[in-house]
């Protein structure tokens, strides 16, 4: 009886704490959303804090009517889907290889790979490398450089190592080859972590714009994030003009108002928010190893 009482107290406290934290976390997004639908002049004055006032949706309409939004959204979706798929395969395949203790000079090669997380050659050398590989101004520059993400690989490997080795051993005895074991056993059993790293690369792919900025000149290959990034950047170039003592009265007219910037945030975040719950079930609900075994 006492245990049950304890349990109720535990649950209640747990609910309260998480409830409060959830509220704190919802607030920024709520704040952004109400600011995108409130009267823009009130938004500029910072008057919208808790409730929307003067509700309208013209910010969204304006935004979605901009040139090239649709095309760039297609590019963004393509790179996200393809990039995520390939990088998840890449990370998990690489992780699977490195779980094999027998691999020749495994320790050396693992460190050879892991250590790359700690250095970067710098922007220019990387650019020249990409140029040398002929990836400039191609769609593949979005996909290929990120195909074997080391960080994700380490996460997957750590997870795979916690899987009882007996499963794979018995499959090996049954004559399953290397790739079969990877596809049939390691991959399905690692679903929670696969979903996690998929989410990581998905968000990474969807949000990145630096690669477009540096490597892409063809307008048809611009991503949604990049187009919106440029839009946000207008005020930055305004600041630069101010520093050079230019007359900005003209430029100021072209500046992005605060409400638009917030609208952009909502537009780019929403797709991820929508996909997220679908991926969640893979790592919120525990898997039954027994079920996989059977």
């Amino acid at each position: 009886m006492k245990r049950e009482g304890n349990d109720i107290v535990f649950q209640v406290v747990n609910y309260i704490i998480f409830g409060i934290f959830a509220l704190i976390c919802v607030y920024p997004f709520y704040y952004i959303v109400i600011n995108t639908i409130s009267a823009n002049d009130l938004v500029d004055k910072g008057k919208i804090v808790f409730f929307p006032r003067g509700i309208h949706f013209s910010n969204y309409v304006d935004m979605l009517q901009r040139n090239g939004i649709a095309r760039s959204a297609v590019v963004s979706v393509l790179r996200t889907v393809l990039g995520t798929g390939l990088s998840v395969l890449g990370a998990s395949y690489m992780a699977f290889c490195f779980t094999k203790q027998k691999m020749w000079a495994k320790k050396f090669w693992y460190r050879f790979v892991v250590v790359t997380m700690y250095f970067s050659a710098g922007m220019i050398p990387v650019y020249l490398n990409i140029k040398m590989l002929g990836l400039l101004d191609t769609f593949w520059v979005y996909i290929i450089p990120g195909m074997f993400p080391v960080y994700n690989m380490i996460l997957v490997k750590t997870f795979m190592e916690s899987i009882p080795p007996s499963l794979e051993e018995s499959a090996e005895i049954d004559g399953a080859g290397f790739l079969t074991r990877y596809f049939r056993i390691a991959l399905p059993l690692s679903l929670p972590i696969i979903a996690t790293v998929a989410l990581f690369s998905m968000v990474g792919q969807w949000n990145s714009f630096m690669d477009t900025l540096l490597y892409i000149r063809d307008y048809n290959l611009y991503t949604l994030q990049y187009i919106l990034y440029e839009y946000l950047n207008e005020s930055e170039s305004l600041a630069q003009m101010a520093q050079e003592g230019m007359d900005m009265s003209n430029a100021a007219q072209n500046m992005t108002p605060t409400s638009m910037r917030l609208t952009i945030t909502v537009i780019v975040t929403l797709p991820i928010m929508l996909v997220y719950p679908f991926m969640q079930r893979y790592f919120v609900e525990g898997i039954m190893i027994g079920a996989v075994k059977g």
Binding site: P28, K106, F112, A121, L128, G286
Partner: protein, 313 residues
């Protein structure tokens, strides 16, 4: 005799298998080499006064000039020291708070209602997607002197007499910065632990229930061991990376008043203009940071090996 032959052939077989597995891994290793090691040729820029566009042979050779420049002058040394102090403070707080995502995940997974669980999990990741610039304008709208509601509230309650510009305060900068970061990233960083929990065989819990283990015991003996590996892996990785605190957050929150405490190394390097076109200088600093990171990583890995008995990497 026979046994040793058998052992030998077994050894031979396993060796061959080792090579086979290596062959499987080889393409990925080649890939990593092409995209991460090949560009390192560019490190040569650090000892030249590199001008983009000119072949390196036509650039002036400057030796270690850019490596020593950061330390060249007492004022520079003091600033560097200051920014390193701030970096270490942030890293220290980072280590102190590093179990939080794990704890978050544990308690969340103990929650009964699946719907609520999913709800909490979804909304706590939302701040991750909001850029620091927007976070700043949000914080500013709450904390500003003229009509921020925090000041209004505090004045009305009589806690303070005059409104305070909290953002221009140099008190508790490290802690508030960490606080903002946790606000933004805690839910997001818990995801990987939730995955680890999901990977624990449910049969273990069922068995423990049968044995009469209570909640705490189940957490301590099943959940924690199931994710501790992930925790240490992440900790070691992040310690190796300790100099790369990033700068976006600190950049948007910096002002004249809090600068002495907010300027971490990355921000300092940016502020003194090395980001702008000083390719050779930036490369030299990048090399130094990489060296520190690799050494630190090796050290932490060694430490964990001595303490925990085996090496992670």
């Amino acid at each position: 005799m026979e046994e040793s032959v058998k052992a030998k052939s077994l050894h031979k077989k396993s060796k061959r298998e080792g090579y086979m597995i290596f062959l499987y891994a080889l393409p990925t290793i080649i890939f990593v080499f092409i995209f991460s090691y090949l560009p390192l040729r560019g490190w040569i820029y650090s000892i030249y006064n590199y001008q983009p566009g000119l072949p390196i042979s036509e650039c002036e050779f400057v030796g270690m000039k850019y490596f020593t420049k950061l330390f060249s002058n007492p004022v520079m040394r003091m600033n560097l020291f200051n920014s390193l102090r701030n970096t270490f403070a942030m890293v220290g707080l980072g280590i102190l708070t590093s179990p939080l995502p794990m704890i978050f995940a544990i308690f969340l997974s103990e929650m009964r209602s699946k719907g609520f669980k999913k709800f909490v999990q979804t909304v706590t990741t939302m701040p991750h997607f909001i850029s620091w610039i927007i976070m700043y304008s949000l914080v500013f709208s709450m904390l500003n002197v003229n009509n921020g509601f925090v000041n209004t509230l505090l004045v009305q309650m009589g806690v303070i007499e005059e409104p305070v510009n909290f953002l221009a305060s140099q008190k508790h900068v490290w802690i508030t910065m960490k606080g903002y970061e946790l606000w933004k990233e805690l839910g997001w960083s818990a995801i990987v632990y939730l995955a680890a929990i999901a990977g624990i065989d449910q049969e273990l819990y069922e068995a423990a229930m049968v044995d009469g283990a209570n909640r705490l015991q189940r957490i301590w003996h099943i959940t924690v061991p199931g994710m501790i590996e992930t925790f240490f892996v992440l900790l070691i990785m992040s310690l190796g990376n300790f100099l790369n605190t990033g700068m976006e957050q600190y950049y948007v929150f910096q002002n004249a008043m809090n600068k002495d405490y907010i300027q971490v190394l990355d921000l300092y390097v940016y502020n003194i203009g090395i980001g702008n076109g000083q390719i050779s200088y930036a490369t030299a600093i990048g090399i130094m940071k990489s060296l520190v990171a690799v050494i630190m990583f090796g050290f932490v890995n060694w430490l964990s090996k001595t303490v925990r008995g085996y090496s992670m990497f």
